[in-house]
Symmetry: C2
Subunit: 198 residues, 2 copies
């Protein structure tokens, strides 16, 4: 899953730090392959790195279309532009879907921790009607009630993108660097990097 | 190519207007299918609508990887988030590549007009070394000189995305609307729309 020393990670952490006061600096655009074979693209929120790895965390509704898409083709590319520092990261890799059907103890725990980290208001979104279905104006008679101590609801899904290529572009310095993971059997991912033309 | 009355267009024009003072409101994220069958995603600049149609214009370098990709699979999806008004547009459609090899008189003229509309500084980018190739530190002895009256250089390429589906989400009002072009043989595109769950 990558080492703490992935050379692109320090660039990304530094971009996040220098843009920390801007809420939208945590918004990125995630492309997947749609069910019709066409590209699919949407805005999602960066939820930090998976502890001790380079895995990029995203929370989503398991009833959203991207889940079907990722189950057919697990590859995705992030396009992430930092509006203050003029830096672009294109992060390509495979996404692991950690949903309610996941029985692995470690992953089960990670999903539960992710759920407990979000605000009560954010949690309520996962209790709403299914995304993409036609909107029905009548609301349920009672607002659903969520016990603050209970575990994640079925619709809550954790995605972890494990990067294998990062294309970094700095529009202020006109520098561009391409980082590629070197396939290897060891636990730690090795990276090669090259400066390329912007 | 669509009519002036495409129902999503007024929403997009109004988002552009209410976010007009923010430079990055014209930056959008364009997903295509990469040569390896994986998704590909990058930041590009919105250059307005093609006159009299709903076509979305983007300028790019014909040596960039997206051109190869679009020649294999012309479909793309834009993810566009307006940070002030909290609106997301996902715009899906087919892209037409108008490059130096295009002999159609109308398209030739459109590409020339696009070239003359950009700043001298932007034009110089298309004279630089080929994107994606390894960077070579030595600069050419002389800066290339561009005659301000001459036509587009070979590397200058106009892309026009012709939308056939627009998924609009307003995060302030929690309203989401899906617009779909109805296939028809006439000149004017008809659209159907439906309110769906966010």
């Amino acid at each position: 899953m990558g080492s703490a020393a992935a050379p692109w990670k320090s660039l990304l952490l530094s971009a996040l730090e220098s843009n920390a006061q801007i809420t939208h600096s945590r918004f990125l655009h995630l492309a997947t392959i749609g069910g019709n074979g066409r590209p699919s693209n949407r805005t999602v929120v960066f939820r930090g790195f998976e502890e001790g790895t380079d895995g990029i965390r995203i929370y989503t509704d398991s009833r959203s279309r991207k889940i079907e898409e990722l189950k057919t083709c697990p590859f995705a590319e992030i396009s992430w532009y930092f509006t203050e520092s003029w830096e672009q990261f294109r992060i390509s890799g495979r996404i692991e879907v950690v949903d309610a059907s996941c029985l692995d103890a470690t992953k089960f725990k990670k999903r539960a921790e992710a759920w407990s980290s979000i605000s009560p208001k954010s949690r309520m979104q996962y209790l709403g009607p299914s995304p993409n279905l036609p909107y029905i104006a009548e609301q349920p008679a009672k607002e659903p009630v969520l016990d603050s101590c209970s575990g994640p609801v079925d619709a809550f899904c954790l995605l972890v993108l494990d990067p294998d290529q990062v294309d970094y572009l700095n529009l202020k310095s006109a520098e561009r660097k391409l980082f590629k993971a070197i396939p290897c059997l060891g636990r730690e991912t090795l990276w090669e990097s090259e400066r390329i033309n912007p």
